[in-house]
Symmetry: C2
Subunit: 196 residues, 2 copies
């Protein structure tokens, strides 16, 4: 079941950017659904990292510990982490309404550094990108290579189409991204097939 409501079950106050926000939430819901499917079917254990919060004040109400003041911290890692067939998986989901290029300003510098570190230590890292009503999985290495060789503040859609793996939606799980990992990251043929 896809839940597009906020944690306190209040509906989002609709603003101008509703389309963008909803897209991001829709993508997250699909990833959550896939992760639940993987867990239930014993395929992989992948979960969303909690939002890092600096806890400032805590009250007790009838023995229940309630946080009454906290600050949101910038994430230095990515949103999802997990384990698939012994492989360490670490990735993020990004959504853009931009049709020609994926803006890089929503990936922090320390997140790029984190992706580099993951790859260096033998883990698998990537982005799941929603763009032009299609979903692409872009390998961390292809992201790093682009950033190191270009001064642009965005990645052209053509680069994502060329290097990324287009994930076709299906019934269950709707967004079966592990299939890409299985087919193209592990098991001998790490390189994208259509490029060979």
């Amino acid at each position: 079941m896809i839940n597009l409501l906020y944690p306190n079950n209040n509906k989002k106050i609709y603003k101008k950017n509703i389309n963008y926000a909803n897209r991001g939430m829709k993508l997250e819901s699909l990833i959550d659904e896939a992760n639940e499917y993987y867990k239930e079917n014993d395929i992989a254990i992948i979960y969303k990292k909690p939002t890092p919060i600096t806890i400032c004040k805590v009250n007790y109400e009838s023995d229940k510990k309630i946080l009454t003041k906290g600050f949101f911290k910038n994430k230095s890692t990515l949103d999802y982490v997990g384990l698939y067939k012994g492989y360490y998986i670490d990735f993020d989901a990004k959504s853009t309404t931009n049709k020609t290029a994926f803006p890089l300003n929503n990936i922090h510098h320390h997140q790029i550094k984190h992706i580099e570190n993951i790859i260096k230590h033998g883990g698998i890292s990537f982005l799941i990108i929603e763009m032009n009503n299609e979903i692409y999985l872009l390998k961390g290495m292809d992201l790093i290579v682009y950033i190191k060789n270009n001064n642009r503040k965005s990645i052209p859609f053509n680069y994502i189409k060329e290097k990324g793996f287009n994930i076709k939606l299906k019934y269950s799980p709707t967004l079966d991204y592990i299939k890409i990992i299985k087919n193209y990251f592990i098991g001998g043929h790490y390189e994208k097939e259509k490029n060979n």
Copy 2:
């Protein structure tokens, strides 16, 4: 540097259980120090998972997003996650003042299930236990085996001494637990040497 203060820099209000609480925080500080050392020296990437919080109310003060009401959720996973030489690492730190047995009531049922899942999917999971002024690394499998075969609500210290790996403190990093992973979990000899 070991910081034994709470996040808002207030000193802890001293209660009867101060000794226990301080012990737990001291152990966490040593693990944090080791993780920082591993990161700086490019040995491993291991970090503490943020505390999961259900966000209920958020206010904005001069454009800064401040959390004003939140509930602490029970952890269904363990405290630390990371990557070492391509291996997925997932563990927790536990401290007890009990001298004869390690009480199992501070490990939740879903945490046990999580440890089982990690092992099943090819990851490395364990507990770092502080007990009787010594530090032991107990493999997740040895924890599971004990729980499955015993109805006791605690693990006798003798079992931990026999199955666990005693980590001797040294200068830098003080608590070098990755050495145990390197020597006894990967690289061929997964079994504890002294038992062979």
